[in-house]
């Protein structure tokens, strides 16, 4: 009979009870029918969530019979699950418990509220029952966690929810102590964190027990590294239970003491003994009682594990991770962060590099040193992570300590050569720059630039890839290729050959792995974002150059690499993509970041992003499009009229006259009248903003001024300078490539002389000289720019004045837009 019923489409709600019944009869086991295929379960779950099978239509829906059907279908479902949950067979029971968790997530609010209590008790019975199998227990933990999560979204059942959650604590702590399966531990940790986050009140009386249980797991030699992290995370959440600043401080103090005590043992013979005692003293001020050790009276500090270096380090790392998590997660009350102790701890760890102080050497055997050195990188890595968390959490309040942190970071940068640690260092510098701003950029710039240059240097890469004899040759080629590429915009045959060396550079056989390069690029990008304008005198040119080379070589010939390398299943492809993206991002930052000169590699950048937009994979192409948009402002400086200013001059004409009375207003203002006022203001402003050096003018004209534009200028006004410089158009330059370098110094004075004389001839206004004198450095450029502006404006003016016919001006406009599009 049912088979004759027709449905509208796949979304018809009458379909739901049918499908659910079908699932129930076909796939879900019952009392008699055993479970045959586990894989079906995943299918059941996905069908339920796709079709929302467990939702029930509201009672007031149109079709009463349909409501009844779907209700009875869900009723059947729930009853079947409850039967399964209480089944004796572990596999059926497991199915019931797991699906119950899904039901908690998916079912309607009314059903959940009316029956969660029953579900909860049936799930809890498995945790209490010593006979239930492990897999059932794991599933129960997760299902209860989901039940509590759903419950937390109802505000009116808060009290009841807390009392339910409280019932869970003791049984699972008991389980945690008795059982030794990692899967179960994971489930328990998850359930406990759910309770901590959602119902902290449920803990109150059992707080100490929980802390002790978790601490004992952390101090247990049997816990795996992965689980250690999870326990550490849970431990870090515990202060939320009480939610007071004292509980936070106490936990932090306990952690720091424990870490330092461990280190005292580990560093024996590697550092002065006084350091450890001082650290402990600092943590337990003489006037106050020292807190109980972590995890209660017998905090596990006296066990036999003291002799295993590896165990100590993994333990200390877990404790440090715990402190880092505590620092970075949010709290409802204010917290007192012991920055001094944290920083001195980090300093203490980083100071030990495995070398023996001369006085200590007789007390340590070679084997001991070997064991310590093997574990030190892990320890340093954790310490750096702790440092980063500290900086992140206190942000601007790091101020009094900032200088010492900078010194710590820079000195460690110099010592540290392990890529993994350097990556951490870069991320610390990035965090420092982001949180402390310009002041920090002033302090760190040199350090970041030096290190990033070393890590990004393509030459450092070849060392282990090519034999010694080849190496010098390759280096030469690479260098040559770099310097050539800057001038070429097209790839000549010779160059393509050279760049074959470069193609291989960033990813294989590299002494600085790709992730390190990405980290250093990110650091450079942040530096440019925060303090790009500061380095104009010193590091900026070097960085711009470096980023241009890196970006070009990262992109050369492998835009399409996502497809080409696709056959390799490992993830190095995404690494490469990320490197490309990081290089492009940093390059864009170098082009956009404020500077006194026009960006030297603008042309290369535009070309690179344009090709990238067309050829690269979607992610990179998306970024390239964004980059082009940002650069559009650079190539077409916006001269939008200021909101309101022109109308103001209409409203208050006397103010204009005031200005002109006292001073001779420069020509353009008079010529263009009020309407152009704002425009002109902006242009002046832009002209002022970019004040290039002589060299840069040369460069700018060569590379960025499009040929069309120079032509236009020539047409508009007979500018001797522009013409003379305009001869140097891109095609000529490619030809005279080799003599270019030698020519530059000769050309510069020529150009500037020409400009000045030209200015005298065509623009005899005092106004300009005055404006320009304010900015000595970029005199020539300002003149040039304003002349250009004037030239075009003047032309338009003259056209308008000569005859009122609109055709010439239209032509003019067309021409302008043409050239714009081409540029």
């Amino acid at each position: 009979m049912a088979s004759f019923e027709r449905f509208e489409d796949m979304c018809d709600s009458r379909l739901k009870p049918k499908i659910l019944q079908n699932l129930l009869s076909e796939y879900v086991p019952n009392e008699k029918q055993p479970l045959t295929n586990f894989l079906v379960l995943s299918k059941v779950v996905s069908t339920i969530s796709t079709h929302k099978l467990l939702t029930e239509p509201p009672l007031a829906s149109i079709d009463q019979s349909h409501h009844g059907k779907s209700k009875s279908a869900v009723d059947d479902w729930v009853n079947r699950l409850l039967a399964l949950v209480s089944s004796d067979m572990p596999d059926k029971c497991w199915v019931g418990v797991s699906l119950m968790g899904v039901t908690c997530q998916e079912c309607s609010s009314d059903r959940f509220i009316s029956s969660y209590s029953v579900w909860f008790n049936s799930l809890l019975s498995h945790l209490k029952n010593p006979a239930s199998s492990r897999i059932v227990r794991v599933a129960s933990c997760t299902s209860i966690s989901d039940l509590l999560t759903r419950l937390s979204r109802f505000l009116n059942t808060k009290k009841d929810a807390v009392s339910h959650a409280a019932k869970v604590i003791l049984p699972i702590i008991k389980l945690l102590e008795e059982d030794s399966s990692e899967a179960l531990w994971e489930g328990i940790v998850h359930l406990l964190s759910t309770v901590v986050i959602l119902f902290p009140a449920a803990f109150h009386s059992n707080y100490d027990k929980v802390e002790a249980a978790i601490a004992s797991k952390i101090f247990s030699a049997k816990t795996s590294c992965n689980m250690l992290k999870k326990f550490a995370h849970l431990l870090a959440l515990l202060p939320k239970v009480k939610g007071t600043e004292d509980s936070w401080s106490l936990m932090m103090q306990k952690l720091l003491i424990s870490i330092n005590v461990h280190l005292n043992n580990f560093f024996q013979g590697l550092e002065e003994e006084t350091k450890g005692t001082k650290a402990i003293q600092r943590l337990t001020p003489p006037g106050k009682d020292s807190p109980l050790p972590l995890g209660g009276q017998n905090g596990g500090l006296d066990d036999a594990a003291w002799n295993s270096e590896q165990l100590i380090v993994s333990r200390v790392s877990a404790l440090m991770l715990c402190s880092s998590t505590m620092l970075t997660s949010s709290y409802k009350s204010k917290i007192n962060i012991p920055v001094g102790s944290l920083l001195s701890l980090v300093e203490r760890v980083l100071a030990v590099n495995g070398s023996l102080p001369r006085a200590m050497s007789p007390f340590m055997t070679g084997i001991q040193q070997e064991l310590v050195c093997a574990e030190l990188p892990t320890l340093h890595s954790s310490a750096l992570e702790l440092l980063r968390a500290t900086i992140k959490s206190i942000r601007s309040q790091l101020l009094p300590y900032a200088a010492s942190v900078v010194r710590l970071v820079s000195s460690y940068f110099r010592k540290c050569s392990l890529p993994e640690l350097r990556i951490k260092l870069y991320s610390i510098t990035t965090t420092l720059l982001k949180s402390m701003g310009i002041g920090m950029a002033m302090q760190l710039a040199q350090e970041v630039v030096t290190n990033a240059s070393a890590d990004l240097d393509p030459r450092s890469v070849e060392v282990d890839a090519v034999s010694n004899k080849n190496m010098s040759l390759t280096n030469g080629a690479v260098l040559q290729a770099c310097s050539k590429k800057r001038k070429h915009s097209t790839n000549s045959g010779v160059e393509a050959e050279n760049s074959a060396f470069e193609v291989g550079v960033p990813h294989n056989h590299s002494s600085s792995p790709i992730t390190l390069k990405i980290a250093s690029l990110e650091a450079l990008e942040t530096l440019l974002t925060i303090g790009g304008a500061l380095g104009s005198d010193s590091w900026r040119e070097r960085v711009d150059n470096l980023l241009m080379t890196t970006a070009t070589s990262a992109c050369e010939g492998r835009w399409a690499n996502t497809e080409t390398y696709h056959c390799l299943p490992n993830k190095s492809t995404t690494d490469l993509d990320e490197f490309q993206l990081a290089a492009l991002r940093a390059f864009l930052a170098s082009l956009v970041s404020p500077s006194r000169v026009r960006p030297a590699f603008l042309a290369e950048g535009l070309e690179l992003f344009r090709t990238g937009k067309l050829q690269a994979g979607m992610k990179v192409a998306g970024f390239c499009a964004q980059a082009l948009m940002s650069l559009e402002v650079v190539i077409h400086p916006r001269a939008l009229p200021l909101d309101g200013l022109p109308s103001l001059s209409n409203l208050f004409p006397e103010s204009n006259s005031l200005a002109s009375q006292k001073h001779n207003t420069p020509n353009p203002n008079k010529l263009n009248g009020i309407a152009h006022d704002g425009d002109d203001l902006c242009n002046k402003w832009l002209a002022n903003a970019d004040v290039p050096s002589n060299n840069a003018i040369q460069r700018t004209l060569e590379t960025t001024l499009p040929f069309q534009e120079t032509k236009r200028l020539k047409v508009g006004n007979d500018l001797a300078t522009v013409t003379s410089l305009g001869v140097q158009d891109p095609t000529d330059m490619v030809a005279s490539e080799n003599v270019q370098q030698a020519d530059v110094p000769v050309q510069v004075p020529e150009g500037s002389l020409g400009q000045i004389s030209d200015k005298d001839a065509t623009a005899p206004q005092d106004g300009y000289v005055e404006v320009v004198s304010g900015t000595q450095e970029g005199e020539d450029y300002v003149v040039k720019d304003s002349l250009m502006e004037e030239a075009s404006i003047g032309k338009r003016e003259s056209l308008d004045e000569s005859d009122d016919d609109s055709i010439p001006s239209l032509k003019d406009d067309d021409f302008l837009s043409d050239s714009d599009a081409e540029s």
Binding site: L39, V45, W94, S98, L99, G101, V102, C104, Q105, A139, T142, S145, D146, T149, R150, G187, L198, S330, K332, K334, I335, N336, P338, V339, G340, S341, S396, L399, P400, Y401, A402, A403, M436, I438, G439, A441, M442, Q443, I530, G531, A533, S536, D643, G644, L645, L648, S655, L658, A659, H663, P666, N669, L681, C682, K684, N688, V691, G767, V771, G774
Partner: protein, 435 residues
């Protein structure tokens, strides 16, 4: 978000506060008589103002008010009279400039005087933090504007090496600095200073030099910056508010926005509220006027009695909805006013006890959402079960087979041994029997 305007006067009276959107009068705080630039909101936490004192008084004073009480909550007495007072954006540090030219930096949470340094030769008149709080710009009666990097000030190591403390020193002004503003340019920011010498000067932070000099018809008391750049507002002594163009072609690139009052009472202070683009001016006549800079018309006026206004601040407060207990308790804790500011720098070990207090973010109370895991767990466990059917079990099976084989061999061995032994014993017995 609640945006209010607060205004104080140099004559002892109350600090007025008004809601900028509705124009309603809010709570008044008293008593207060503060110098120009002596009023500041400390983050969103509370209000602080330095106090003008009689010449005879040996120490200065700084008062705190919490937002919900009209009376002074905390009084501090620094060693000298504090002219300019400002706090960083987070409200964690308070910086004051004294009449002697010394600048003081206090940590708000503890009241500790973290740093004191000699900033200028004469009284400090205004103090401004850069957008990212890492730089401090100070102006003085001696006409100098100086830029300080706070990080470097705390760097005792560099200090001992005899470097100058300041980053930049701009000294082209000929008379006392009256106000300083800094724009959103980050490391390439512009600093504009106004002075009694009837000029405003535009400085570049990155180029470390004067970019533009703009001459006004009258001495300028205060500045406000249009955040979108290129234009700033200058409140003059001749009761007019001028518009200055930062990049004007001439030195006279100014226009008049409007004048506050007819009686030519000086405009003493300006503030810009980016939310709604409003300019707020205060005048010696006691009027606080809100302008719409686009239409150049006053939108609203407030009146602070007859007393001359000399400080205006726009204060933003995040309003936390009182939906549950935890939040209100946070509010209670959050509104606690910190201890008074200390007079002297601590010395020795005690200087930094290494504790930093972090206030919770106002939104850290949003309900947490936990994610559901059951569905994932099922997939995981199914996979595990599946795998146990293959790899793990196979290995186990092989191991067991091997073991079984070995024990079979062992069994044979024992069997043999037993038989051998039995044989020996039998033989011996036979021999014994025959004997």
């Amino acid at each position: 978000m609640e945006i209010s305007v607060i205004a104080s006067s140099s004559v002892e009276s109350e600090i007025g506060s008004w809601d900028l959107k509705t124009g309603n009068k809010l709570l008044q705080f008293k008593p207060c008589a503060s110098p120009a630039h002596g009023l500041t909101a400390v983050g969103e936490k509370f209000l602080a103002a330095s106090q003008l004192r009689k010449e005879s008084a040996s120490s200065g004073s700084i008062f705190y008010w919490s937002w919900n009480k009209p009376q002074v909550e905390v009084k501090s007495f620094p060693v000298e009279s504090i002219k300019a007072l400002t706090a960083n954006n987070e409200g964690t540090y308070l910086v004051g400039g004294g009449t002697s030219g010394d600048i003081y930096l206090w940590e708000v949470a503890t009241g500790k005087l973290l740093k004191k340094w000699h900033g200028h030769y004469r009284s400090v008149t205004c103090l401004v933090f850069s957008g990212d709080d890492s730089l401090l710009v100070s102006g003085s009666q001696d006409g100098t504007v100086r830029v300080w990097s706070l990080i470097r000030l705390f760097d005792d190591f560099q200090r001992q090496h005899g470097n100058t403390l300041y980053e930049h020193n701009f000294n082209e002004h000929t008379m006392s600095i009256t106000d300083i503003v800094i724009d959103y340019g980050g490391s390439n920011a512009l600093i504009i200073s106004s002075s009694e010498d009837r000029t405003c000067k535009v400085w570049s932070l990155s180029k470390e030099k004067l970019l533009k000099n703009i001459i006004f018809p009258s001495a300028i008391n205060s500045l406000a910056l249009d955040p979108c750049g290129s234009v700033f507002y200058a409140g003059a002594r001749d009761s007019k508010i001028y518009i200055g163009a930062i990049n004007a072609t001439s030195e006279y690139g100014t226009q008049v926005l409007g004048s506050v009052s007819e009686q030519s009472k000086a405009v003493t202070c300006l503030a810009y509220c980016a939310d709604g683009n409003l300019l707020i001016s205060g005048s010696e006549s006691g009027m606080v006027c809100v302008w719409d800079p686009k239409s150049r018309r006053p939108v609203r006026t407030f009146n602070l009695g007859k007393n001359p206004v000399n400080n205006i601040q726009v204060v933003r407060k995040t309003i936390v909805a009182n939906s549950n207990k935890a939040q209100s308790s946070w509010k209670r804790r959050g509104s606690l006013i910190p201890p008074p500011l200390e007079k002297y720098e601590r010395s020795g070990e005690d200087t930094m006890d290494g504790i930093v207090t972090i206030e919770p973010l106002p939104y850290s109370d949003v309900p947490v959402y936990n994610s559901f895991l059951s569905a994932d767990l099922i997939d995981e466990q199914v996979k595990e079960l599946q795998q146990q059917g293959s790899a793990a079990t196979e290995i186990e099976m092989e191991r067991l087979k091997l073991e079984y084989k070995r024990s079979l061999q062992m069994n044979d061995q024992w069997q043999k041994n037993y038989e051998n032994l039995l044989q020996v014993v039998m033989e011996e017995e036979q021999i014994g029997g025959s004997n």
